[in-house]
């Protein structure tokens, strides 16, 4: 499959060079890439799910390593793995129930599976549910440490798989791949429509004559505000410009084009203005499992100011931004330093940047981080495409999207190093 390999390498390069802007674009492209990887994967005769998972993981690890800060890549890889596991499980369950496969060829969703007709096989259904729900004691106990080798299979699953394979192999092998690709397509669809789903909720949160503050630019926020505007709510927006990228200018321009009353303020005036603001609505880069937010730089300051003035701090995040990891020292470890040229003119300061003081260390450092970490206690509400949630609930929400086996993807690479 030289074709896929080229695609993967191309995408890796883009990630490494940070050519892809925004987590939504990244997520979408990752999903598309993984879809083609899946479609190109040669299915072995047995244990097809494991083969799929293996190939997706192999690519996923490289993608994550290419840009470890862009958590959306990891999220999508985990989502795809989860999809593979679920599809496999649903097929297994169906086979075990002894129902004919053709009847459920279109069933891919969790919801569908939950009211699956195969409830007669109660024991197996229960077993399958236990594998579906990651934090169950049974899975934790029975799972093999290196889950990559034996993909989803807990003991009961393995048994059932063996039996089902003997039942009708040929149809299953086609079916699994087909179902997985269908599901990935749906994931891509979800990622690209998450704005609308979030924006639909705008009227529930924005009232007449509201004053809203935001910082930097986020497409989600733009859609959210515009949705409220379309519903004839009249309100006022303060946009902090978000130095050093000044994306706020862009957002302000978009907002005024759509007829919203917009005031562009400097980042330094946020504290002065926040006392007159009713709500802070911002986009996020990623949402961690503890409810903390990796957000564009400057938002921690805004969140602190909002807390000081008891202004609700609302974070909009599509589900592809939900990351199942718990952050450790995220300000540094999940951050990225951009070029100093955004802050200082090299021409003016070139002499300071390199002349050393005796010991050879440069006198001048320029720090230009990309992200801020907003701890969960500063966030009032998350609005995702599935509705509004408390920061404390995020870990549970995340459990719906990822399987526990995939949380640590880099295990092999770290052990290899």
């Amino acid at each position: 499959m030289p074709d896929t390999q080229a695609l993967v390498n191309d995408f890796l390069n883009k990630l490494k060079k940070r050519k892809i802007e925004g987590s939504q674009a990244t997520a979408k492209q990752t999903a598309e890439l993984l879809r083609s990887v899946i479609s190109q994967t040669r299915m072995p005769y047995t244990n097809q799910a494991a083969a799929l998972i293996h190939s997706v993981k192999a690519v996923g690890e490289r993608l994550i390593a290419a840009n470890p800060v862009e958590l959306a890549v990891g999220n999508v890889v985990r989502r795809v793995l989860h999809i593979v596991r679920e599809e496999d499980l649903s097929l297994t369950t169906a086979a075990m129930a002894g129902l004919n496969l053709s009847a459920e060829s279109d069933d891919e969703d969790d919801t569908d599976r939950d009211n699956h007709p195969a409830l007669s096989a109660a024991a197996i259904a229960a077993a399958s549910r236990s594998t579906l729900r990651p934090p169950s004691l049974q899975t934790l106990l029975e799972d093999v440490p290196d889950s990559a080798a034996v993909p989803h299979t807990s003991s009961s699953g393995g048994d059932s798989e063996g039996k089902s394979k003997s039942a009708d192999k040929s149809s299953r092998s086609r079916k699994l791949k087909h179902d997985v690709i269908e599901a990935v397509n749906e994931l891509i669809q979800d990622i690209s429509t998450c704005h609308e789903l979030i924006a639909e909720q705008a009227v529930e949160h924005i009232h007449q004559n509201e004053v809203i503050l935001t910082l930097g630019s986020s497409r989600t926020v733009l859609e959210f505000l515009c949705a409220a505007k379309e519903k004839k709510r009249s309100f006022r927006v303060f946009v902090a410009e978000g130095a050093p990228r000044y994306q706020g200018h862009l957002l302000a321009k978009e907002l005024v084009t759509r007829g919203l009353q917009t005031t562009l303020i400097t980042d330094s005036a946020v504290f002065a203005m926040i006392s007159r603001v009713n709500m802070v609505i911002v986009g996020a880069h990623a949402v961690m499992a503890n409810g903390g937010v990796i957000a564009p730089v400057g938002l921690n300051m805004v969140a602190l100011a909002a807390q000081k003035h008891a202004v609700p701090f609302v974070v909009l995040a599509g589900s592809h931004k939900l990351c199942p990891l718990y952050p450790h020292h995220p300000e540094v470890l999940l951050n990225e330093l951009r070029s100093p040229s955004e802050l200082l003119d090299f021409g003016e300061f070139s002499d300071c940047l390199d002349f050393g003081s005796g010991i050879g260390a440069p006198l001048l450092h320029v720090v230009n981080p990309t992200f801020d970490y907003v701890p969960p206690k500063l966030v009032s509400l998350f609005i995702t495409d599935t509705g509004g949630h408390n920061p404390s609930y995020m870990y549970r929400l995340i459990a719906d999207y990822y399987s526990a086996d995939d949380l640590v993807l880099e295990r092999r690479t770290t052990s290899g190093n």
Partner: protein, 671 residues
Amino acid sequence: MNPNPNIDFSHLCFLLFLQKSTKFFERQLSMDARRMSRAVPRVRQVGFFTPNTPAQQPQPQSAAPSSESPPLSDSPASNSLSPVMIPPPRHLSDNLGGRTAAVPVPGREISGELPTVGSYNPSESVLWLDSPPRSRIGDEELSEGAESSLGWYRRSDSAKFASSLPSGGFNLSTAKHPESVAAVEAKNPLPEQSEVQKEQASSSKPLKAKTTKAERRALQESQRAAKAASRAEANKSGTPGGAPSSKPMKQPPQKKDGPPVASSIAASERIGVDRSVEKERKKDLPPPRKQFDDESRGGRAKRRSVLNQPEARNRVELFRHLPPHKNGTQLPSLESKFFELHEKHPAVYKVGLQYLAGDLSGGNARCIAMLQAFQEAIRDYSTPPEKTLTRDLTSKIGGFVSFLIECRPLSMSMGNAIRFLKSRIARLPLTLSESEAKTTLCSDIDRFINEKIVLADKVILRHAATKIRDGDVLLTYGSSCVVEMILLYAHELGKQFRVVVVDSHPMLEGQKLLRRLVVKGLSCTYTQLNAISYVMHKVTRVFLGASSIFSNGTVYSTVGTASVAMVAHAFRVPVLVCCEAYKFHERVQLDSICFNELGDPDAISKVPGRVDVNYLDNLTDKQKENLELLNLKYDATPSDYISVIVTDYGMIPPTSVPVIVREYRKEYLLI
């Protein structure tokens, strides 16, 4: 003449009188306190506008509404005023205050000597404590020292940026308008005055005739011409009292709605008593600030202004009460007016232009430049015939001040300095010859600059340097000259530390600070305000400058300072605010919106050195309609974020600011 002996005497008399007048007052109070208080503005007006008003009160200050006039009750001279000259109460309810204060008697012999003083109401001076001028020993060295170290405050490299630096600047303009108007009018026959003059001339007219605006304006025009002519004549011939000296006729703002009523002398006397009581009680209260959108001042200020007010295009709704930014584009028009504005001394004019162009920025630099310009103006000053230096010079200074305010709103510290200067002028002994008086004033100014700024900074350096240890990481925001001096001083002491310079658009003055620090060999980290949470982990101390500190502990400083202090507080990093005590002010403020200064809104859409940021360049008219750009210059940092304030009186907690303000004010009279 040393007024000292008089103090004791007058105090004695004051006390005696207090007892008597209290009874009197109480009786009056029980009679009809309410109506009396209602009547206040009217009575006052009558005092001003009866056709019999003696012509020998030619000073504008005397009649200036002077809502901020400090109490004068134990200054004998002022007590000899006729009661109508005492400024009106600010709040009617205050008339019911329990205390009474002195009225005239004791000071007679002084007022005999100074017949003119009576009509002078030094509305800006802090004069209730009468004290002898300090000896001027050591002036020479002091001023020498001042000259040498002033270089600090003037930075040549700021010319590039039209925006001015943040660490200075508090808009006193609004508060001062009544006085400055008066002062301007002393020289320039300007609308309000001629209006009054007109009224006086046609005294058959009711006082506040319901003339339409247009009518009045037309009259003003003609009056202005007539007035100019007559003034020229007066200056030449030197007629006593000055021909056009209807200046005391300037109407108090209250007049606007109060219908003229004739009233008895008795009534006015009674109210005079009340007023002095009130003044006594309120001497610690700052005057209410007049806001830009105040109806009663708007029209007048506009007519008077030298500069064109910029269009109110896209003004931010929340800040309509603040004057819009006047940017350097007005420079040529102002320059062309140079010969019209012959009243302005060239030195003052130059400083004004520098303010306008943003070449001169930083609270201390602006204050020093202003004082030195005044100094020069005083040196070149000669009292016009038939005028007294005290009064004429005060009004002249007032004119300068209002000119400077037009160029850029004054900072709190400058207001304090002007207050000092005016009090010095007002309390010049009359026995001094003109040249002596001028020398005295010049050395007073030198002493102020030296003691309150230069030496104060040296003291602050010493204090602050004790808080810097080896291995520290110090963070500073923007560019404060005191903080810069502290850093350099600590570096000279050989302390090993690292400096984090935090900057923010659109001022970007941190870059200039960074440049100066790096050249001196300090190791620095540069970042922008948004990254403050990222760098704060490593920081051990935060040093901030301030434009002013209010008596509720609020630090009024460059916009963004509050955010820095807040983040530092959240990360448990101590915040040290370094500020000279002359910048302290007795006002209080809770937010950054009620009072602030607006910068150039267009500065926001451009980022120097970043061509890629051009999103706002080509907006259609419809887009512009919805877009407002807000460029705030200052913000108010709540006192709970401040660990300590380093000032020339030592290191104090923010709760002690009112104490310093009180103590400091006393001392500053003695300077």
